[in-house]
Subunit: 308 residues, 2 copies
């Protein structure tokens, strides 16, 4: 799956993934009103609003970008109807030719990770038949439980030609609380990064591994160090835009080949219409605003990469 992602990054010239994290405060009022008129102020109504909102964004930008990253928590909070909206979003994005990174941050002991891997990337056996539960292309995974929590994902990635991104150094302010602690004179995130590179060897694509890493744009120096430690590891970089990461910070996450990283922006794209810079589009034009924001982000990253 990493090969397909790279192919799409090259075709769009955009190492960008758009986070489909549809918080209700981002959903334009006309969409909310219509959904509530049809389903009431219910979980079903919220899920319908989320789905229509997502669809508008995807329709407006799918040709510009290689991938989307729906954050499952934003759907899970709306219970079963929310999960249906998640699945519908995943399916629709795949129909549109997008690579779908399920931001699920799952991870557990062996047999349970097997079930999570089946749920999000693989298939489950039911009697004599097999089914896919959610069927994303990539999933994000938490490493705290160690190798036997990760191996079931590697197995499914090999069988189903899928991929994972393992949390290494997350973008949030307190990520250092455990991740930066010194272990044998090196921060824990480096130890995790080395292990991610080792896991990645078991599941290689053509030039990069199907096992990627999550490293926040908010930590460019750590990104530089990790880039060198994990040369064949694709880095998923959250934290651009709203969380404070800038284009210039991103160059350290890329290899000399111009590849090796894909930068996520969520609210910076999907709620662009709420920013002063894109206010001219209005709430009705939220899709066009998202498109303009993707184009600006592509330009920001390209000029940062050209300038290095």
């Amino acid at each position: 799956m990493i090969d397909r992602l790279i192919e799409k990054i090259k075709a769009t010239n955009a190492p960008i993934v758009v986070g489909l994290d549809p918080m209700m405060k981002f959903v334009p009022e006309h969409i909310r009103k219509k959904a509530f008129a049809e389903y009431g102020e219910t979980l079903e109504g919220a899920a319908e609003a989320v789905w229509q909102y997502n669809k508008g964004i995807v329709d407006a930008i799918y040709d510009l970008i290689p991938a989307v990253k729906p954050q499952i928590a934003m759907y899970e909070q709306f219970g079963i109807p929310g999960m249906i909206a998640f699945k519908r979003t995943v399916d629709y994005c795949k129909e549109k030719g997008l690579v779908v990174i399920g931001d699920v941050k799952r991870g557990d002991i062996g047999s349970t990770s097997e079930a999570y891997a089946a749920a999000h990337l693989g298939k489950v056996q039911v009697g004599s038949r097999t089914y896919s539960g959610f069927d994303e292309d990539f999933a994000t995974v938490n490493p705290y439980l160690g190798s036997d929590g990760i191996r079931p994902f590697l197995k499914v990635c090999s069988e189903e030609k899928k991929g994972i991104f393992v949390l290494v150094k997350t973008s949030n302010p307190s990520s250092g609380e455990f991740q930066d602690r010194q272990v044998d004179g090196k921060p824990l995130y480096e130890l995790v990064g080395r292990q991610v590179a080792a896991w990645g060897e078991e599941c290689m694509g053509e030039t990069y591994s199907n096992v990627g890493a999550v490293v926040g744009a908010t930590y460019p120096e750590q990104g530089r160090a990790l880039r060198k430690l994990m040369p064949k590891t694709f880095i998923l970089v959250p934290g651009y835009g709203a969380q404070g990461g800038k284009g210039a910070d991103l160059v350290h996450f890329f290899n000399e080949d111009g590849l090796g990283a894909i930068v996520n922006s969520s609210r910076g794209i999907i709620a662009a219409y709420q920013q002063e810079q894109y206010a001219r589009f209005g709430a009705e034009g939220y899709g066009d605003a998202a498109r303009a924001a993707v184009e600006a982000m592509r330009e920001d990253i390209a000029s940062a990469l050209n300038g290095r």
Copy 2:
């Protein structure tokens, strides 16, 4: 919620939580056949089998135990129908008066953890109304992202009188890969344990905190050390039975007051009928086998605690 859990542990004299991890290989054939006859070999059929299986177990043991712990991965693998079976199980167990620990191992950056906390423990706003997504009593949480990933859960625990159990030292063989690494001369899990105790101070019940810890029965020595480091922290102890933990190993997880720990068994109870020891019950009697296994586990723990 920890006060309610403790009250129920005292009433049942059983510091036991039964893991409702319904792998298809545990579900008796007569239940699978009936579900597939009605719904076909579909995700709906699998979910119906899982639900009927769970219901049979809960009906057979609910008066003996304080709590259940459904492992969401085992439901998530069956997609939307599986999530419906999860919700139905949670609701049914609560109706039966059981405390429900959602074994979801969620955890993310601030705003996303907020959504997970709302999904599993809290409420979500939809227009002028509020709803609960899954509404467990406790949830398990992964600490890798640090305090700002945990705080949203603490907030919801305080508001909704719910609780969490944070992963500290997990029961699986490779848990030491990161968790045992030395940080300032102490293993990482101790650092996490101290932090769990600190978070716990913000969310106290009467004598124990609503912020608990997960420490595997397979690591009794580590359990002993963590017990001392976190005196007011309730420990959820997985790994008893099938994973190799024994009653005698468990005493270290309890405080002198006989409280402070709740021991999980999953397949040892729910698939007891597949063990030689309980084979006499047959597949039709899987609920009675589960009941006998709970009684034996209660006896094992009580005699270990009495013998110390």
